[in-house]
Symmetry: none
Subunit: 411 residues, 2 copies
């Protein structure tokens, strides 16, 4: 039997370095992971540099690389990908920003950079979208809510540059900054002018918005200012369906990841109850991935919680959540008909509290793979596996070939 | 704990192929190396192609690659690097040559290509530097002694090309050759003219130099001619401190290696008693490396003797000298606070008596590394280590990341 479908499971930031709190083991070594270990036993394993050895990847550059889009060619900053993930259909040439709502006091200083962690900003985003008018600049705006206090801004118009600063002063007690061009180019000045006017009009709209009046009456911080950052120019992505001759979906609670999927042409599947944190409904994710594979050739599923424990330096919490993930993956044991790849996008060592450039574990399990002798899925065990050491950019060619859909090069 | 400093120990030419004289073992396998083996047990190992698989590196191209300077971009011949190593401050555009003193007889034929292995040529180099006048060519000369009969020549001026031949006939009994341009370019003709005039004037100066009169009276071969070779144009090196955001030093008895270090901006540390051969004071090297790391982020230390045994085809001598090196490395066992990388720059098989393109062993030992199960430092054992197979150009990114000083690519 040959597999027809590929499920790529990215366990975000699950890889680690030896942790003192775990007696020198990594969380993956310390966790009881019978499901991952059985998949490793039935498959072929290795280590993978998602970009290149020693290169410390962002989640964005790593996912681009794993999908076969070399970041040095395709990565233009986080803003446009995040905007795409918030549901803005980014076209090449549009400028995207990450945005979030904040609270400013009567003196104009920021008193809360997350607007009291407001749970949803949908009505505020609608008011801004409807109210802000940038036609005198020849620019159309797009503004969509993300999770919690987060949102995304996009600008469409001629002659817009992406090299502009943020208005986020990074510290509370200071007023928002003016957006400034970072080069002498007229296009960057133009974007700065447009963005400053957008921020001015937004603030007027937010000042008297009913939701903010309500929040103030309830003693909550109003979401009366917008901070924007991470400006980037949307590039042109070769569609996934043309590049790999496969249809596909992306399942992720993180706007950045669903944005990357969406930018390359994967269908973003929205699932209620998934959060990108340890409280996410992983079972819903797995079962939706399985049902997506009924109608698609490829599913990218990102499971994010372990990364957060790494960023917080919580080795024991990371170990425990890995056991939760392992349990959630149980249905995959029975799916011997599909090609399953499981890896991390980067290492997030608890000792570093950020990403590192260490390679990540990779396992591929499905029909026809050359099963090796690895019986445990952790950073050290997989290094003696049959895949040896590969790069992120190798993954899609390997998977596409294992389901016999690769193009022959030569005769 | 995170390491703050990196010590890169390059055991020049220590890697080998199986040797008949050692019952099919390599010198590293045959030698008793308790220190290297313990470092391997406590670290992560692998094999490394210093340039690329099967590419037979010079010491110069290998060291450039290991420091993160791809030789295909940065290597412009041995001359300018050797000149830098002899203390000439090479600027981009200058032409460097390797030089050595020789003896010519009354008929002008070379009777000794190494001038009776004259131990020092400092007064002769001074006389040449002061006496040779190339101002009619618009060219300034630099001429510095190296070890023994060796020296280096550099030329500074407009329109100098580097594609010129050597004047060394390679065999005794023949007169020195004329330097010739290797292309039709006027710049190469210009360099050839300048070099020939330099050689003519040098020979006049050497003929009656007091040191040579003295040597003749003592029955020693006079150093009355200069042979030059390896012409190359000095390139522009991105400073090490900018490239890796680290300060650094180089410790090496070989002018070529210290020249490479110096060219990229490492401080060359001169240590009395180190010779680049088996009689070198290795203890002085190690303790100086440790003290350099008090004030610098990075030290490159090259230990050369094993390479000479390889070039001479002496497997047993190589094995025995490896044991001497191993003993000298003992102080490193206690340095669990720094990131230590130990490798070779190339393989120098006793059976080949020259470099080969086989990969070299690599071990990295320090805080936070993913310790593997390798317990012996030799070409075959390390191949099952957790680093698997990397390239020379990967080494610095890996090390910089392991001390958490790498830049994140993406977000």
């Amino acid at each position: 039997m040959t597999a027809q479908k590929i499920l790529l499971v990215i366990l975000d930031g699950i890889a680690d370095r030896p942790c003192d709190a775990l007696d020198g083991r990594t969380p993956l070594q310390a966790a009881a992971t019978p499901v991952l270990d059985r998949l490793a036993s039935e498959g072929i394993c290795g280590i993978m540099d998602t970009i290149a050895p020693g290169i410390r990847p962002g989640s964005d550059t790593a996912h681009l690389s794993l999908l076969g889009y070399p970041p040095e060619r395709y990565y233009t900053g986080r803003g446009p990908l995040e905007a795409e993930g918030c549901g803005i259909r980014m076209e090449p040439g549009m400028i995207g920003f990450r945005a979030n709502f904040a609270t400013i006091d009567e003196n104009g200083a920021i008193s809360d950079r997350r607007a009291g962690r407001i749970p949803s900003t949908t009505p505020l985003c609608e008011a801004i979208r409807d109210g802000v008018d940038l036609r005198t600049f020849g620019v159309e705006i797009f503004f969509e809510p993300g999770a919690g206090h987060r949102a995304a801004l996009a600008l469409r118009g001629d002659g817009l540059g992406a090299n502009v600063t943020s208005n986020d002063p990074k510290h509370e007690g200071f007023p928002p900054l003016q957006i400034r061009p970072m080069t002498e180019a007229g296009s960057d000045q133009h974007t700065a002018d447009v963005a400053n006017e957008f921020l001015r009009q937004s603030q007027e709209i937010l000042l008297d918005h009913p939701l903010n009046r309500e929040r103030k009456l309830s003693g909550l911080a109003p979401a009366n200012a917008v901070l924007i950052r991470g400006a980037g120019l949307m590039g042109r992505f070769e569609p996934f369906s043309e590049k790999w001759k496969m249809t596909g979906s992306v399942i992720s609670a993180a706007a950045l990841i669903s944005g990357i999927g969406s930018a390359v042409g994967l269908e973003h599947i929205d699932i209620p109850g998934i959060t990108g944190s340890a409280d996410s409904d992983l079972g819903a994710k797995i079962s939706r991935a399985e049902s997506e594979l009924e109608r698609k050739d490829f599913v990218l599923m990102n499971i994010k919680g372990a990364d957060e424990f790494g960023h917080d330096g919580m080795a024991e919490g990371k170990r425990d959540f890995i056991e939760v993930i392992d349990g959630a993956l149980t249905p995959l044991l029975a799916r011997t008909d599909i090609m399953i790849a499981i890896c991390s996008d980067h290492t997030t060592p608890c000792s570093v509290k950020d990403h590192s450039g260490d390679p990540v574990p990779l396992l591929i399990r499905g029909p026809d793979v050359r099963v090796d002798s690895v019986t445990a899925f952790d950073e050290i065990s997989v290094a003696s596996g049959g895949l040896l050491r590969v790069r992120g950019g190798d993954l899609m060619p390997i998977l596409v070939d294992l389901i016999n859909r690769s193009q022959k090069y030569g005769a």
